[in-house]
């Protein structure tokens, strides 16, 4: 580092202008993101907010209004139920697949990796419409099962692609040693693999959880009246915003935001934030 620093020529005016411009741009972006979040929050506590910087008075009544109007306790329950089942199923299906991909070479492995990569690259609305069609014909769509099944499409491959490199860095000799001492597959799994994999599984589960709470398209396309998650209810409430007070919709939005952010904060204790995004980095390019 010091070599680089001393050998870089003195920074010219142009370079300094350039780096200042970068800082200004990023600050502008961040200010606007916080502006969006803050204005929703402020509005949800406002008695009346027209043509001023801040509302004329503060109240919490929109929360009780939104809670009753959107039956939020019911919606939160459905959301958590769907999300936890999706997380559990994607771990149970995804981790063994990741294990197979990390430990074995078999014919067609490249094709399998591509197969797991595709649902993450194709946008959910593009495949969501054919998927919803199939699920409606199978009479699954409109129910909670349909929503869960649809959400597995991106989450199972996500778990596979997060867990494969994680399993690759675990020394296979540990399993071999356990086998030498007579442990069967189940005991190797229970006493060697599970403890070693636990941190990786926890991280993958939290990432899936955060992504599934925010997954709008697939849930929207497959949910019926009793199986809408928080984000879908939020969409409908904005869609039909004319009939309600803005503050009520904003209170609903803040409820969604808080739910998501609590889980994000928990997740950030265990994972690097970029893991939410750069899942595609682990490409089957070898």
């Amino acid at each position: 580092m010091s070599v680089a620093a001393s050998s870089v020529p003195r920074r010219s005016l142009g370079d300094r202008f350039w780096s200042t411009a970068m800082v200004v741009l990023i600050a502008f972006f961040v200010v606007n993101v916080f502006g969006v979040i803050t204005s929703v929050t402020v509005s949800s506590f406002a008695t009346r907010w027209l043509g001023t910087w801040l509302p004329s008075g503060w109240t919490t009544r929109w929360y009780s209004a939104a809670w009753a109007e959107f039956q939020l306790d019911e919606v939160l329950l459905v959301t958590m139920e769907i999300v936890f089942i999706v997380v559990a199923l994607s771990i149970v299906i995804g981790v063994p697949a990741a294990y197979a991909l990390a430990r074995r070479d078999f014919p067609g492995k490249k094709a399998v990796l591509l197969l797991f990569l595709l649902p993450l690259l194709v946008p959910s609305i593009t495949y969501g419409i054919p998927l919803a069609t199939v699920l409606y014909q199978a009479r699954l769509a409109g129910t909670m099962n349909g929503v869960i099944v649809a959400n597995l499409v991106p989450t199972v491959p996500f778990v596979v692609l997060v867990m494969t490199p994680y399993i690759e860095q675990i020394d296979p000799r540990l399993e071999a040693a356990a086998r030498v001492f007579g442990a069967g597959t189940f005991r190797v799994f229970r006493h060697v693999l599970v403890p070693l994999l636990a941190p990786g599984i926890l991280a993958a589960a939290l990432l899936v959880l955060v992504r599934t709470i925010a997954m709008f398209e697939l849930t929207f396309l497959t949910a019926g009246p009793d199986s809408q998650t928080l984000v879908v209810v939020l969409y409908y409430s904005v869609f039909a915003a004319g009939v309600r007070a803005t503050q009520s919709v904003d209170a609903m939005a803040v409820t969604y935001m808080v739910t998501t952010l609590i889980w994000l904060l928990i997740a950030l204790r265990f994972v690097n934030p970029t893991q939410l995004v750069t899942r595609v980095k682990e490409q089957p390019k070898k």
């Binding site: 027209l50 419409i129 054919p130």
Partner: protein
């Protein structure tokens, strides 16, 4: 020997449930949709496609969507590249900024659209600032039109582009630019002659992923745009066909067209990259 081989096979079989999920819920619906799109409600096999390409109300959605997706993708990748490059070394800042940028991704497009309605609306802080600073005499319309969707896509996709490019930039061996610096190359020449050629594949992939996401924009086009006119994007057309006209055959046809356009642009970008790029991409990582 045979026991060992059987063991190998059994481990590889762990991938089967995961593969089945993708085959049944991703590949099969796609093929089903493709077949269904050639079985229109009325008319011959190609009737859906003929109808799509003969009615301006339908075929114009391609141009409308491109008109939203290409500029926003160019802006996002264009801004993300220099900013990620500028941030490549400062790790304390990196962590803070990536955490902030993960916020809009985690909150998702529906919340961003909802928040922007308040923030950019005629009573919102942006217009307040413009009017009080004298830059505008009356509120500027930024919602329920093209710009609403444009800005929503910047807020939603810029962090994605940035984090992805940052992971590519930090993946480049710092010894290479250091060597260039030793030979007297300033930051600008390091960028042009060392980083840019090595980043080309990553940039092409980032562009493709951002474009594909923007091309399937849905909730913000409905909530923040003018879904009957200037932001009637192709996803809205597909959704309308499926869930308002209950014409799943037509909806599948539109979804296939949507996928085809995305594929064409992706192939074009990757081909362009191939034309500009010489030498192995992984070489830099040692």
């Amino acid at each position: 020997m045979t026991a060992v081989e059987r063991q190998l096979d059994r481990t590889a079989l762990l991938a089967v449930p995961g593969i089945l999920v993708v085959l049944l819920l991703f590949i099969y619906p796609f093929l089903h949709g493709l077949v269904l799109s050639f079985e229109p409600k009325e008319g011959g096999g190609l009737a859906n496609y003929l109808r799509f390409f003969s009615q301006p109300f339908l075929y114009n959605t391609i141009a409308t969507t491109l008109w939203v997706a290409i500029p926003t993708t160019l802006v996002n990748v264009g801004l993300a590249l220099p900013i990620a490059f500028g941030m490549r070394r400062n790790s304390a800042w990196q962590r803070v900024l990536t955490t902030i940028l993960v916020l809009p991704i985690t909150l998702g497009t529906v919340l961003i659209a909802e928040g922007l309605l308040t923030y950019l609306g005629p009573q919102g802080w942006v217009n307040r600032l413009l009017i009080e600073s004298g830059l505008a005499s009356s509120p500027i319309r930024l919602t329920h039109n093209y710009w609403g969707v444009f800005l929503a896509l910047i807020i939603a996709e810029f962090p994605f582009a940035f984090l992805l490019i940052l992971s590519y930039v930090t993946g480049i061996d710092p010894a290479l630019p250091r060597a260039a610096a030793t030979l007297g190359a300033g930051p600008r020449r390091q960028f042009l002659h060392v980083y840019l050629p090595l980043l080309a594949p990553g940039l092409a992939i980032t562009f493709c992923l951002c474009f594909v996401q923007a091309f399937s924009v849905f909730p913000s086009a409905v909530l923040l745009g003018a879904p009957a006119g200037p932001t009637r994007v192709i996803a809205i057309a597909a959704y309308t066909a499926a869930f308002e006209e209950y014409d799943y055959s037509m909806a599948s046809a539109i979804a296939m067209i949507m996928g085809a356009v995305q594929l064409i642009i992706v192939v074009a970008v990757l081909a362009l990259r191939g034309a500009f790029y010489r030498g192995p991409a992984g070489g830099a990582k040692g």
